[in-house]
Symmetry: C2
Subunit: 598 residues, 2 copies
């Protein structure tokens, strides 16, 4: 079926229901970053395959919003359709709310599958369209009625993290959550974020690419633990264990009815920016909503001792694989044909050789030359570049291991560099090192620290248009909050203080469109240093164990401190990896990590 | 009358009115930082003379809250009274709200002069005492009924800043404010902060120490400009001019009745954290309140070209006086008796020799040796220390000139220093220089930048327990918002982006109780640098022109960049001041500012 036919079928259904607009976002029912194939409704309807985008269909027109990462790709994929591309954030481009405000008539009804948006999202539109008395109907998944051959909902088996990997039992975790509920006098806690549920239960699944979680909802009370999930994903043994621990497994679909029947006068804790609209709307009016961030968000962000120890192990394994990859790439470029896609396969195969490797933690970014300037580049058959003995290969990849999750970026020198390339690499490296070397008082947030990574670039009148770092999950989403390194804050948003046990990426970059990109990313673990009359000091321990490329470094542009930090890091990398490397690699690694002086 | 007699008289009045508590803060009717002598009710009742403190009187007890600056002084001054000292912010010390929550009975009535507190302050107490159905009565100034020989309200003459000093006429300023009102659809704007009114009218007064403002309120509409002030403070000529420009002068006291009679259905813009409680409560229920920060706050924070140029001039004059003072102090210490108080007089006399000097911009802090560790030290006859040829003299002072306002801190070497003293001076200097050298993108706030000043100290496990910098008014309050350098943010508070034209202090410090203190403060002016694809870059131009004390600097602890910044600053100081210095001073200044190398 052609795109425009799909739209016409949808419009027929819209007309029958008197909908003036139908919104098709990129979300599953859980506000997940990546979604399973069942949920790719926007892709099915528009043909645009990017990971972010929202399609809005009106009776006589349709428009698709996506962000800067995808402007080129979306323009290409929408070609020949009647869908207009809306470049989010560009000057003069309407937001979805503004677009609806402009095009809707008085008392129009806007439809959507209420399970794929949040109340916060709907409220944004409501604010703009309230004067026209626009109403919303989230009861029906109309795309589902149009979609021929829709993939089934994923129901992959779950597996359990034993205590050696989890560090804390689910019974204890649930106990802690209940204490938070008690403090807020909440009778119910509704969790729908898949990584929160997986973390709380020490369970992992395989229903979403790159994120080992399983489709589920959780409703917790003082006495009950109701896990809504497909029963067939649990082994009999696990079911027995869960039952023994007081967990009642209910059908995945039963959450809605359960929520509709919550007891009068009770209080439910949920985050209306995460829980889907239909569920939030299903709560009886007699139940009070405590609309706050889930307590699990901060709990899982602060890794326990077992998680910290395992994360170090995972990073040593990953360091071996990535360092081996860099050695292979630098040795073989020019000798054999290496493309962005074949390099990604090579790196995946090297990771797969490491014991306990599970899967990639996100789609690999292996970007040669000018492609490195595209921040979220993903090679396709059409763009797949062959590498030459010049310029940089930017490799931003990561893996899940039984011991944890990695995310590392190195910008690899493939041949002779220009002075500009070296200068820019050195600037980004200085930022990475300065942030990594930060020592600071408890209470400091990523917003206070961000400038350390940007300062060398800002001094040169340069910048990168992305955050400096994100939290990282433990065999969960590679991007998780609440901590991050950033300098801008959205109005009303709060920057979270860093705490011992938080893991966060340190990844400044620089992107010269059409020329090259540099990004250097380590994961760092927040740790305690001395406590004195001034307070508790914290520092950042590097987890990533992969050398920087000395061929791109201009030591004369670095301060003595920066050289000291670099040499200390390289010494640590060498000592950590040396026992695990093959002979030829080891000789090379020794050279790569040898001390640099002014 | 003794303190306790005053309290008894007050309690009699409280009893007649059935008040269970009476609150006596340190504020005038305008939330001013300093207050005129008429308003020193808390000082009259308690005997405590510090600039910050709140007295709460109950039928059987009384307590006074003040902050860390005044713990010692307050303890001394409250000795022998029945008033308990409450050390704000210390562990286990109740806040005022908590104290009232604990001591009040059901349905108690709390009294205060509603003109000396804000609604925001009352709301804090209300939140804690709502369960007891406590109510508030701000109608009467009971201290006024007890106070024998109360000074009269100040009614000093006002004077006008001509365009050479103001840079923009009041007609134009009022026009801009009205445009902001229109945007917010506000019919009225109520301004009560004295510096906002003075700035808007290009008028200055003398009703408050250190702040050249005059007692007044302003009610602005689309058509009317009502200035509530004592008529006798204006010359006939000025009154004529104001009348011509559409300004109606009404009696200072008439504001309350005017506000009570605002028209139904209109919208009034005010800031309930600034406007006093009684005025806010006087607004009829039928008038909608837009509770937001006044538009004048940001307007006056961003200096216009004339103000910037004049501020530079003021700082050159101030630089001459302060540099001359440092030379005098270093030359004469040990040869003649110099005390903290006599040194302050000397500095004041040197400033007074400069053309256009008006007055001090705050109470001078001249603190010798261990006194330097007391952040807000003010020498009294009892503490007045004689200086010796050792340790530091910390001098934090400032002045108002016809061209602007200064605030500068130098820590002056009086003799041989210990290695610790030199190290600590150098650490603080490095922080001052690093922040001063910052280059950053528009949108950055003081919260992003603060770490630049703290980093050298944090690296050494040290810190200072105050903000790094505050905004500075133009011949107005030496402390003004909204911009500041700080890393902590109160919940709900927003850090304001720096803009070209903002002036802000850069003043890290280090305080070793019982030993010494170091603080180094420059005022800096935010300026535009290049604008490119990454955005508009900004930098900080130093306004303060006073050398740092090279006898305390350990160049070997500084980076090459830091030495470069120091040498560039010293070169600029020398070149700026040289034409204005006497021969002997000039020779000394040349040595003091000579290049330092590794």
């Amino acid at each position: 079926m052609k795109k425009d036919e799909k739209l016409e079928q949808l419009r027929k259904l819209m007309q029958e229901r008197n909908f003036s607009a139908y919104i098709i976002p990129t979300d599953d029912f859980h506000s997940s970053e990546y979604v399973g194939s069942y949920f790719k409704a926007r892709e099915y309807m528009s043909g645009f395959t990017g990971s972010a985008g929202t399609l809005v269909v009106l009776p006589d027109q349709a428009a698709l919003w996506t962000d800067g990462r995808y402007f080129l790709q979306a323009a290409e994929q929408l070609k020949g359709s009647q869908i207009t591309l809306m470049r989010s954030g560009q000057p003069g481009v309407f937001s979805i709310e503004e677009y609806l405000q402009k095009h809707l008539q008085e008392k129009a009804v806007v439809g959507f599958d209420g399970r794929t948006v949040t109340r916060r999202f709907v409220n944004l539109i409501r604010e703009k369209t309230d004067e026209k008395q626009v109403t919303f109907d989230g009861r029906e998944d109309l795309v589902g009625k149009v979609w021929e051959g829709r993939p089934a909902l994923s129901k992959e088996p779950v597996w359990e993290l034993d205590m050696r990997y989890a560090g804390k039992s689910r019974v204890d975790k649930i106990q802690e959550v209940r204490m938070e509920m008690q403090e807020k006098q909440a009778d119910y806690l509704l969790l729908t974020a898949l990584d929160e549920i997986a973390w709380l239960f020490n369970l992992r699944g395989n229903d979403i690419a790159y994120t080992p979680v399983f489709l589920s909802y959780l409703l917790l009370t003082k006495e009950q633990i109701c896990l809504f999930a497909h029963e067939e994903i649990f082994t009999e043994e696990l079911k027995g264990k869960l039952r023994q621990e007081g967990v009642a497994i209910k059908p995945y679909d039963a959450i809605e009815e359960t929520v509709q029947n919550l007891s009068d006068g009770k209080k439910i804790w949920l985050d209306s920016g995460v829980v889907n609209y239909r569920l939030t709307e299903s709560i009886p009016e007699s139940v009070e909503i405590l609309d706050q961030s889930s307590p699990v968000v901060l709990m899982k962000a602060v890794k326990n001792q077992t998680e910290m120890d395992n994360m170090r192990t995972a990073h040593v394994k990953d360091g071996v694989a990535v360092t081996r990859f860099i050695h292979w790439l630098k040795t073989n470029v020019g000798r054999e044909t290496i493309t962005e896609m074949s390099a990604a396969e090579k790196l995946e195969s090297l990771r797969a050789q490491m014991e306990g490797y599970l899967e990639q933690s996100f789609g690999p970014i292996i970007a040669y030359g000018p492609h490195g300037a595209i921040v979220h580049y993903a090679a396709t058959e059409q763009t797949n570049a062959a590498m030459k003995t010049e310029s940089f290969c930017l490799a931003d990849t990561g893996g899940h291991y039984k011991e944890g999750t990695t995310d590392v970026t190195r910008t690899i020198v493939l041949g002779t560099l220009t002075e500009e390339e070296k200068r820019d690499y050195t600037l980004v490296l200085r930022g990475n090192l300065a942030l990594g070397a930060a020592k600071f008082l408890e209470g400091v947030s990523g917003q206070n620290l961000d400038i350390l990574a940007r300062q060398p670039l800002w001094e040169a009148g340069l910048d990168y248009n992305h955050g400096t770092g994100h939290g990282v999950g433990y065999i969960l989403g590679v991007h998780e909050g609440p901590q991050r390194f950033h300098w801008r804050t959205a109005p009303g948003a709060k920057s979270v203080a860093l705490k011992e046990g938080m893991i966060i990426s340190d990844e400044p970059g620089l992107y010269l469109e059409g020329k090259f990109g540099v990004r250097l990313e380590n994961l760092v673990l927040c740790r305690k240093k001395e406590k004195n009359e001034y307070g508790q000091f914290l520092y950042l321990e590097p987890l990533t164990m992969v050398p920087f490329d000395r061929e791109a470094i201009l030591p004369e542009l670095m301060t003595r401190s920066e050289l000291g930090w670099l040499n200390a890091y390289h010494k640590r990398v060498y000592e950590t990896l040396a026992p695990l490397m093959e002979e030829e690699e080891l000789i090379w690694l020794r050279e790569m990590t040898a001390e640099l002086t002014e």
